[in-house]
């Protein structure tokens, strides 16, 4: 077994103002795409800044490529590309100046490769960064992270504020990196994004890592929230009997229900009704937490304890 690229052991970091992370342990193997999922302020950025030695843990051990990010910071960061969560770039530099500056700091990268990336993301090299849209700045950050093909990409909400087209470009670049055997650590507060690109996902909430799961497993547990308004007679019991329905609520002619697993039985049942309105949505992250890791899931007794992947 080769050593994991990222290892966190019981890492704790508290801020005087509150917040931080509490006893976080996780591993990311080489070549894995790890999605780090959690609401804003849950500790995602803190974890990432710890990995980069921008801040130091109160206790616990961090190792990247088997090295200590503090003592061997240069060696670690030489193999690491990073997109910060609160992205601020040097407004007065042009894209070219910024990229040549960072390329120099990385030991001089082939300029042709950098231009390939800027062309791919449709960036104009000689525009000042201050004149770029938020999306284009994000692309600049992505280019500087990808350039030099680092072994590990650490991306803190890299698609926030991007339009869907560019988001897709970013996801594509991440999948490419992954298929080239590089490791990706991607933080996000969108379940859908993590589902699309990650192999494994860690969920963090209020500074605690609540679960680490394979995305495939998560998907099989996926829950939908359904709202149906029917004309005429409504037999709520028939919905309640459907496989996978975990909670149900009737308000007048409207049924609210929560269903896990395949939707096929529901769709077939709906065909017997005279529908006035129908909405089916995936629960947002908060609801997923409630569903799977039952902080306070009132409608449900609970099926299994949170699983901790190795």
């Amino acid at each position: 077994m080769t050593r994991p690229v990222i290892e966190l052991e019981h890492v704790t970091k508290h801020y005087r103002a509150g917040g931080g992370v509490d006893d976080v342990s996780l591993e990311v193997a080489a070549g894995d795409v790890f999605g780090f999922l959690g609401p804003n302020g849950a500790g995602k950025t803190t974890t990432i800044r710890l990995m980069l030695d921008l801040i130091r843990p109160d206790s616990g051990r961090i190792s990247i490529f088997g090295l200590d990010p503090r003592a061997d910071g240069i060696a670690v960061r030489r193999r690491l590309g990073y997109v910060p969560g609160d992205l601020v770039l040097y407004e007065r530099l042009t894209v070219r100046e910024l990229l040549s500056h960072f390329s120099y700091l990385r030991g001089g990268l082939p300029w042709g490769e950098i231009e390939e990336l800027t062309e791919r993301f449709d960036l104009e090299l000689d525009r000042p960064i201050g004149a770029l849209s938020k999306g284009n700045r994000q692309k600049v950050a992505l280019v500087q992270a990808l350039m030099g093909r680092p072994d590990l990409l650490v991306l803190d909400e890299p698609t926030s504020g991007l339009d869907p087209l560019v988001q897709r470009q970013v996801h594509e670049a991440l999948r490419e990196a992954a298929s080239a055997g590089r490791t990706v650590f991607l933080s996000s507060h969108f379940l859908a994004e993590v589902e699309q690109v990650a192999d494994r996902v860690g969920m963090i909430r209020a500074g605690r890592l609540t679960a680490v799961e394979r995305v495939a497993d998560l998907r099989s547990k996926s829950v939908h929230l359904v709202e149906v308004r029917v004309a005429g007679r409504l037999d709520a019991e028939r919905f309640r009997q459907l496989p996978g329905v975990t909670s149900l609520d009737v308000v007048g002619q409207t049924v609210h229900l929560r269903i896990a697993g395949p939707l096929d039985p529901l769709v077939r049942e709906l065909a017997h009704h005279d529908l006035e309105d129908l909405s089916i949505r995936e629960p947002d992250l908060e609801e997923v937490f409630l569903e799977h890791f039952g902080a306070t899931a009132p409608t449900e007794p609970r099926r299994e304890a949170p699983t901790h992947a190795p």
Partner: protein, 272 residues
């Protein structure tokens, strides 16, 4: 102007630190040059106008001591009073403190430091390169004093020697660099620009007052060697030329630089 592939490639942190301040530095240099030219251009009038020299002589002693205005009849005396006692070094100290406090904490407050330090660059190197840029920039701007005064001195009949002028300019530069490094040390240790500026400004004022008033206020005499301002300009380099005194500033600067690096390496970087 031809717009070919004249790519501007920016490299080290040192280069960028300069690049960012280029316009500001040019502004400071021009301002200092203009100030020197103005002062020198009125010198002949003041020297030849006995009523002004008499008026100056009639100022209270404390006032004259504080602003080093005595002997307006001679070129060196005039330069000391009008340029090197307060305004000149003050300008250089302000430039250095603004810049020194911004080197690390500015990037931190603006939020650029995370992406910068994600590169394989040590905090020590970042600190040293930025300090070197500040030091060179402050020295360059200070050099304007010597260059302008040497250039126009003969025409204005200042009768000031090359050595004393260089000694005064060097002292001014070293004083600025020392306070710039003080501001760097405080801001590198705390990440707070405003705090660094405030504390350093207070220290600079105290240093100036101790140096300028120590001849007047008896009990300040023994404290005088603790004032960097005394070792720079209190020892009157325009009259006495080069001496060992500026070495005190060099030693202080190096100690503060070591402190800056150590403090910066130890702490958590602030979130923007």
């Amino acid at each position: 102007m031809h717009h070919e592939r004249r790519a501007v490639m920016l490299h080290s942190v040192f280069e960028r630190a300069f690049h960012e301040q280029m316009r500001a530095l040019a502004g400071w240099a021009i301002g200092i040059a203009v100030y020197c030219l103005l002062m020198v251009s009125v010198y002949p009038t003041i020297r030849d106008n006995t009523s002004i020299t008499k008026l100056v002589d009639s100022y209270p002693k404390a006032f004259r001591q504080m602003f080093a205005i005595y002997d307006f009849g001679s070129g060196p005396g005039y330069l000391r009073g009008e340029i090197f006692s307060l305004v000149g070094p003050l300008l250089v100290v302000i430039l250095a403190v603004l810049w020194g406090s911004d080197l690390i904490a500015g990037e931190e407050e603006r939020g650029t430091i995370d992406i910068l330090l994600a590169n394989p660059v040590s905090r020590r190197r970042l600190c040293l390169e930025k300090w070197a840029a500040m030091t060179l920039g402050v020295a360059g701007v200070s050099a304007v004093f010597a260059v302008v005064l040497l250039a126009v001195g003969p025409a204005a009949e200042l009768h000031v020697g090359v050595d004393p002028l260089i000694a005064a300019t060097l002292a001014t530069a070293l004083l600025g660099i020392m306070f710039g490094t003080t501001a760097l040390a405080i801001s590198a240790g705390t990440g707070r620009r405003g705090l660094a500026r405030g504390v350093t400004a207070a220290l600079a004022v105290a240093a100036y007052l101790v140096s300028s008033l120590s001849g007047l206020v008896g009990w300040l005499g023994p404290v005088r060697p603790a004032s960097p301002w005394y070792h720079a300009l209190g020892v009157d380099p325009l009259a006495n030329g080069l001496s060992w005194h500026p070495l005190v500033l060099v030693a202080l600067t190096l100690a503060l630089l070591v402190l800056s690096v150590t403090a910066f390496e130890r702490r958590d970087l602030a979130v923007s």
